[in-house]
Symmetry: C2
Subunit: 80 residues, 2 copies
Amino acid sequence: MKAKVYVTLKPSVLDPQGKAIHHSVELLGYEQIEDVRQGKYFEIALDANVSEIDARQTAEQIAKNVLANPVIEDYRVEIA
Amino acid sequence: MKAKVYVTLKPSVLDPQGKAIHHSVELLGYEQIEDVRQGKYFEIALDANVSEIDARQTAEQIAKNVLANPVIEDYRVEIA
């Protein structure tokens, strides 16, 4: 069982890395880009005998306690 | 229109950051975790009047040329 965790900065938090990427792609000639935001992506492989409910619960806990900083970041968990 | 780009290390490439996270979550008592891999996640906001086909093409080009290093990384583009 595999859990995918997406961690993104909260919309109200400035993202200088995204801004830098936005500026770079503008210089490269891509003019239809309005904004770029960078986040983090994690793939967590769990034991095959873990139920989907347990996998989601474990991944949510890990996302909240280890992978994301809830003060400035949002996270989303998908089970695949 | 929004494009989401996921950049992950190719499976054959070592991921020391993922290994460190795996080790940390084991120390925290999560024993059902087999592996953790870290990647990057980008949200690209495009002009509203860009067609889905153009948006995908632009996002694929940016992913290939700017966001990912195709020697060691894979990328995936989703249009939302």
